[in-house]
């Protein structure tokens, strides 16, 4: 690759990062947005954990938490421009509908494999919502969970 092309690619990446940070700076309540999105991710992981443990009866309760987390995102963007709010609302409704399907299936079809497949689809829909926001506000899907406060070696 020619040096000119490399420089152009780097500039493009740099511009994208600057634009993303500008969007984040423009958000009225970036901390609340970050919290809301992180809650959605947290509850989604709980969905997965309950399905894996075959605690199907707990899945509808997780869905209730998911809708509350979705409300937190709505509240966080309430002061944003109408066009952006509309985009968020569309994606948010799609995500809630996807997780509701998983919740409903846990009662009608308590099959862990099928539920996991449906959950994976719901995660894809949720990620589309996350993509509306700058990367620094999106939750880290790979954040480890384990014993916090354990002595560090």
């Amino acid at each position: 690759m020619k040096p000119v092309k490399i420089a152009a690619a780097l500039m493009t990446i740099g511009l994208a990062l600057i634009m993303a940070s500008t969007v984040a700076a423009q958000l009225k309540s970036p901390d609340d947005v970050k919290t809301g999105l992180r809650l959605l991710m947290q509850v989604s992981n709980d969905f997965k954990r309950q399905i894996t443990a075959k605690n199907f009866a707990r899945v509808p309760r997780e869905f209730k938490e998911y809708t509350e987390s979705a409300d937190a995102v709505r509240t966080a963007v309430k002061d944003e421009p109408a066009a952006f709010k509309a985009k968020v609302e569309t994606k948010l409704k799609a995500a809630v509908a996807a997780y509701q399907k998983v919740s409903d299936m846990s009662s009608t079809t308590p099959d862990a494999d099928k539920l996991m497949a449906e959950h994976a689809k719901a995660v894809t829909v949720m990620n589309a919502l996350f993509n509306l926001f700058p990367p620094e506000l999106r939750p880290d899907p790979n954040a480890p969970a384990g014993i916090r406060g354990a002595p560090k070696n």
């Binding site: 919290t35 809301g36 809650l39 009866a57 938490e65 987390s69 937190a72 014993i147 916090r148 406060g149």
Partner: protein
């Protein structure tokens, strides 16, 4: 110093009393009592029915035994009291802080606050032993986080707590070591360590 400093007088009176009292009849003449003269009263006549020396002797004998008992009581009431505070990390399933420290044998008064405000989910704070953590977590995952009363694996636990509320638990800190704590409704994610020092 005394009104009647002639102790020999009291010697003779004591012997008379001893001769009249059947309980003292068998008292050996060289017993301790017989060698200690009765204390003369500062004012007024000596009461013939009051063996003052024996009372003093009993007091002197038992006082050293009672002193440690009294000291023991004061030590118990002086047990070190430690107030600890812990809360949820807002609505996230994590403790803040996730490490606590207290000295062994201290009376720990722990306040747990559910700092969430967005999501309706209940939390608690439960202390267990390191070798019981995984088994307990597995059980909680299966039984919806219900803490069975009298479960020997549970050292202590607060009741479940709704968002915005606080609960408290009081317990005596166990022997020195690291003890894991967790939330029974989120046993895999919501964990921390209580360091009990010497």
């Amino acid at each position: 110093m005394w009104d009647r400093p002639d102790s020999q007088f009291y010697w003779s009176r004591d012997r008379k009393i001893a001769s009249r009292c059947p309980k003292l009849k068998h008292l050996h003449p060289l017993s301790l009592r017989s060698t200690i003269p009765a204390m003369p009263f500062r004012r007024g006549p000596l009461r013939s029915d009051a063996p003052v020396a024996r009372r003093r002797l009993l007091f002197v004998m038992f006082a050293p035994l009672l002193i440690p008992l009294g000291c023991g009581r004061s030590q118990k009431s002086a047990q070190e009291v430690v107030d600890l505070y812990i809360e949820t990390d807002g609505d996230f399933i994590a403790f803040k802080p996730d490490t606590l420290t207290c000295p062994t044998s201290a009376l720990v008064r722990l306040t747990f606050h559910h700092a969430g405000r967005l999501v309706t989910v209940r939390h608690n704070w439960l202390l267990t032993r390191a070798d019981q953590l995984e088994a307990l977590s597995k059980d909680f995952a299966a039984n919806d986080g219900v803490v069975a009363s009298g479960d020997p694996r549970v050292i202590t636990a607060t009741p479940l707590c709704d968002k915005g509320e606080s609960v408290m638990v009081q317990f005596t800190a166990p022997s020195p070591g690291d003890y894991p704590f967790l939330c029974s409704t989120h046993p895999e994610d919501m964990r921390g360590i209580l360091h009990v020092t010497k």
